[in-house]
Amino acid sequence: MRIFNRSHVPWFMFVLLATVAACCIYVGNFHPERLPHGFSLPPWLIHKPSDHRSIGGTPLGLVLGTISLGIFVFAALLGVRKKLPFLPVGNVQRWLRGHIWLTLLTIPLILLHSGFRLGGPMTTTLMVLYAIVMVSGIYGLILQHRLPTMMKESLPAEIVFEQIPNMRAQLCAAAEKLQRSLKQQATSGSAVVATDVSQEEVLGGFIEQRLLPYLCARRGEKYRLGHAREADDIFRHLRLRVDEIYRARVDDMRRWCDERRLTDTQLRMQHWLHSWLFVHVPLSFLLLLMTVWHAFVTLFRY
C-alpha cells in the first residue's frame, strides 16, 4: 500500500498529534521541570503521584501500555478481516491504513511506556520481538511502496499472485497438448497439411527436451529458455528449422515462454514483496501472546 496519498493525511495527522500529546503528558507527569516555561498540563491530565520507579508501572504507564496492547490486537485482526470480507466493518483498505498508522503510533507509546529502558529479561525479550516486528513491518511498507512501481515498469502484464501456480499449470498443459497433437499428426500423416515428419519430430523433441522441462520447472531461471536473450536465439533458430506452417506454433511456444518468464519475474518480485511477512506475521502473533502474558504478570503477579 502506498502511504503518500491524500487518504493517509488524516491518519498521519492523527498519529502526529497523538504522539505529541503522549509526549507532553509524559513529560508533564514525569519531568515537569522540562516543560516550556509557563506551560503546564491541566490537572485532569496529571496522574496521582506514584512511588513507582519504572514508568510502565505507573498509572499513566499502564494506560500507555494498554493502548499499545489494544493496537496490537487490532493489528492482528487485519488477517481475520481479510479472510472474512463479508463483515460490515469497513473495507480492507481502511483496515490496512489503520494497521499501518496505529502500529506506527505504538512506537512512541511503547517507548514512553518503557521509560526508554529495556528492563529485565522478560521485557527485553518483548522489546526485541517488538523491534523485529516493527522493523519488518516498516521494511515491508517500504517494499510495498517501491516494488509496485518497479513491477509496473518491468512487467507488461501482472498476474494475481495466488494464480501464478495455476497459470504455470495451464502453460504446461498447453505445451503438452501441442506435443500430443504433433505426435498425432506425425503418426497419422494428416492429409490437410503437407506434413514433414522430421519437422514435427523437431518440434516434438523441442517441446519434450526444452519447453516442457522449462514450463513445468519450479525455478525457470535455471533453464536457457528462462533468459530472454537466449530464448530469442533458440526460437529464431527453431523458426528457421521449420516451415512457415509451423511458425505460428513456434510463436505460441515463444509466447508461453515469455509468459512463464513473466510469472518468474513477478514471482521473484512477489517474493520480495511478501517475504517480510514470513518474519512479520508469525512474530506478530508471538508478540501479541507475550504482551498479553506480560500484562497479566505485571498486573496480577508482581
Partner: protein
C-alpha cells in the same frame, strides 16, 4: 511495454476462465501459517513452563540486593500473587478490583510488597509522626539494583517531600497539632552510652523547603540557634594547641589526636577521660616530698576522706618503704609528712586560720584554690608539685547550708555527638582532611562554651555536586529516614526539664 500491458480489467478478463478459488493456498502462505502456529505454540509452551517452573532469572528486572539475594521463597517472598476470585458471592470479582487498583495506584502493588517487608522488618518506625505523605518502602529502597542498591536512596526521594512547599507546610501544621512526645528526639545512636546533644525541636519542626544539601539545606541547628556549650569543665583549646611552653607529652607534641581518639569503628570520638588524656600533664601529685603520693580523682567525697585520713594514708605509704620496719617509725613518718605538707600550705592556712583549723584549711586549699602553690614564695618550680587545685579545671561550689568547707564539684558533661540527626565517620574524613581544616574555630577557642563544630558551608565545600565528594552529597550520606526503634520517653521531652537533666538522662522528678 506499457502499451502491451493493458488495463487491469483487460488483464482480469484474460485470466477470467483460468482463475481458481481465491482461497488457493500457496506453499509460501502455508509455510507462513505453519510457522505462525509453531511460534505461537512455542510461546504457549514457554509461558506454561515459566508459570510452572518460575525461572527467577527471566522475571528478574535486575540483581537483588545482598540482604535479599538468598530469600528462601524466591520471588514470592515479596511478590505475593494476587487472588483473582472474590471470597464471597456478593462481592464483585476480585479481578476487576485488582485491575482498578492497578490503574489507580500503579503496578506492582506496593501495599502487598510493604506487607511482605513488614514480615521481616518489624522493628522500625517510619520517619516522623508529622509526615503527611507516607511512602512505600520500595519507593526509596529500590530492589533489583545490585548488591548495594537497596540502601542507595536518591536525593530526589527526599526532595519529593522536602522540596515541596505544600507538603512541608502541611507537615509543619500537622506537627503543631501533635504532642511533643510523639517525636523521636534521638536518631539511631551508634551506642546508647554516647552523650548526645539534643536541642529542642523548632516550632515548625524540620520543615524548611530545600532541594539538596548544597541547595537550600538550612544551617546546622546548633549554629542557627547560636548554641553555647554548657559544660562546666574549663578548657582552653588555643592554649593547648598553640602554646610553645607546653612540654611535649610521651606521645609527642600536644595535638588534637592526643585527646580526641576515634572509636574502633572510626565514626565518632571516644570519651575523654582524665586518666587517659589529662593526667600526664595535670598530675594529682600534691606533696613535693612524696611524688608517688597522689590525690584520688572522680569523686569529691573520696578526696575529702583521703584528706581527712592523711596520717593513715602516710602510714600506708611508710609501710611500703623498705627502711621503715616498725610501727613507731610509721607513726613518726606520718607525723613528719603531715607537718611538712602543712608547711607547704602555710601561707594559705595562715590566711584562713580565723575560719578553719589546719586540716580544714588544707581541704579548702585543695578544692577551691586555682593554684594552691602560687602563694608559696621562693618555692623551687623544679620541685614543686604539679597539682594545681580542683578549681583549676572544675566548677567547685561550697555546699549550701554548711559552714564547714564542703566542696561540691559539678560533674562535667562532655558532648560526644553534636549533630545527632546526622551520621558521621571521622575515619573517612581523616583520609582527606586534617582536623583543623574542618574544626577551624579550635585554633582560636579560649573558652569551653565555644562550639567548635564545622559549619554547613564547610561541609558543602566537598559534599556538593561540584565538590570533591560529589558522589557523597546525597541526603542519605548523613541522614537516616527511619526513626529509632523506641520513641523517647515523655519525661525526656518535657520542656520543663533542663538541658543538663536531658543530657544526664534525668527526668523532671530527678530519677
Amino acid at each position: 511495454m506499457n502499451e502491451e500491458r493493458g488495463t487491469q480489467r483487460d488483464i482480469a478478463k484474460s485470466y477470467r476462465d483460468r482463475v481458481q478459488s481465491r482461497f488457493t493456498r500457496t506453499v509460501w502462505r502455508s509455510a507462513r501459517f505453519l510457522l505462525s502456529v509453531v511460534l505461537f505454540a512455542g510461546g504457549v509452551v514457554a509461558i506454561y513452563y515459566c508459570e510452572k517452573e518460575k525461572p527467577q532469572e527471566f522475571f528478574n528486572t535486575g540483581p537483588l540486593s545482598r540482604s535479599h539475594a538468598h530469600l528462601q521463597d524466591g520471588c514470592v517472598s515479596c511478590h505475593v500473587p494476587e487472588r483473582l476470585t472474590s471470597s464471597s458471592a456478593g462481592q464483585p470479582p476480585a479481578f476487576f478490583q485488582v485491575l482498578n487498583d492497578r490503574f489507580e495506584k500503579g503496578a506492582p502493588s506496593f501495599e502487598r510488597i510493604d506487607r511482605a517487608c513488614g514480615q521481616c522488618h518489624q522493628q522500625h518506625d517510619f520517619h516522623e509522626p508529622n509526615v503527611v505523605t507516607n511512602r512505600s518502602c520500595s519507593a526509596c529502597h529500590r530492589e533489583h539494583q545490585g548488591l548495594h542498591g537497596l540502601m542507595a536512596v536518591a536525593n530526589l526521594d527526599c526532595a519529593s517531600c522536602h522540596n515541596n512547599s505544600k507538603i512541608m507546610q502541611a507537615s509543619a501544621d500537622r506537627g503543631k497539632q501533635l504532642p511533643p512526645t510523639r517525636f523521636h528526639l534521638n536518631p539511631k545512636l551508634v551506642n546508647f552510652r554516647q552523650v548526645t546533644l539534643q536541642l529542642p525541636r523548632p516550632a515548625d519542626g524540620y520543615t524548611k523547603t530545600f532541594a539538596s544539601f548544597s541547595e537550600g539545606h538550612p544551617p546546622f541547628q546548633l549554629q542557627r540557634d547560636n548554641f553555647r556549650d554548657n559544660d562546666v569543665l574549663r578548657f582552653n583549646h588555643q592554649r593547648h594547641l598553640n602554646s610553645s611552653d607546653i612540654p611535649p607529652t610521651k606521645a609527642g607534641k600536644l595535638d588534637c589526636n592526643y585527646c580526641h581518639q576515634p572509636e574502633p569503628n572510626g565514626r565518632y570520638m571516644q570519651p575523654i577521660s582524665f586518666e587517659a588524656h589529662c593526667q600526664e600533664c595535670h598530675s594529682l601529685q600534691f606533696d613535693v616530698r612524696n611524688p608517688d603520693f597522689q590525690l584520688p580523682h572522680g569523686d569529691a567525697q573520696l578526696v575529702r576522706t583521703f584528706l581527712r585520713t592523711l596520717p593513715a594514708q602516710y602510714g600506708e605509704l611508710a609501710r611500703r618503704k623498705p627502711d621503715i620496719t616498725n610501727e613507731s617509725q610509721v607513726n613518726q613518718f606520718a607525723a613528719q609528712q603531715v607537718k611538712g605538707l602543712l608547711r607547704q600550705f602555710a601561707p594559705y592556712v595562715e590566711r584562713h586560720r580565723s575560719q578553719y583549723d589546719n586540716v580544714e584549711a588544707l581541704e579548702h586549699a585543695v578544692f577551691f584554690t586555682v593554684d594552691p602553690y602560687k602563694a608559696v614564695e621562693g618555692f623551687d618550680p623544679a620541685t614543686r608539685a604539679k597539682y594545681t587545685g580542683c578549681a583549676f579545671c572544675h566548677e567547685v561550689k561550697q555546699a549550701a547550708g554548711v559552714s564547714y568547707p564542703t566542696a561540691e564539684i559539678t560533674k562535667p558533661v562532655m558532648i560526644e555527638r553534636w549533630l545527632p540527626h546526622a551520621q558521621f565517620s571521622h575515619a573517612k574524613h581523616a583520609m582527606v582532611a586534617s582536623c583543623r581544616e574542618c574544626h577551624v574555630a579550635a585554633q582560636s577557642s579560649r573558652v569551653t562554651s565555644d562550639v567548635l563544630m564545622p559549619t554547613k558551608e564547610s561541609c558543602v565545600r566537598c559534599h556538593s555536586p561540584s565538590g570533591v565528594a560529589r558522589k557523597a552529597s546525597e541526603c542519605s550520606t548523613c541522614h537516616l529516614y527511619h526513626s529509632p526503634d523506641q520513641p523517647s520517653t515523655a519525661a525526656m521531652t518535657d520542656s520543663r526539664i533542663s538541658f543538663k537533666q536531658m543530657l544526664l538522662k534525668i527526668d523532671a522528678r530527678g530519677h
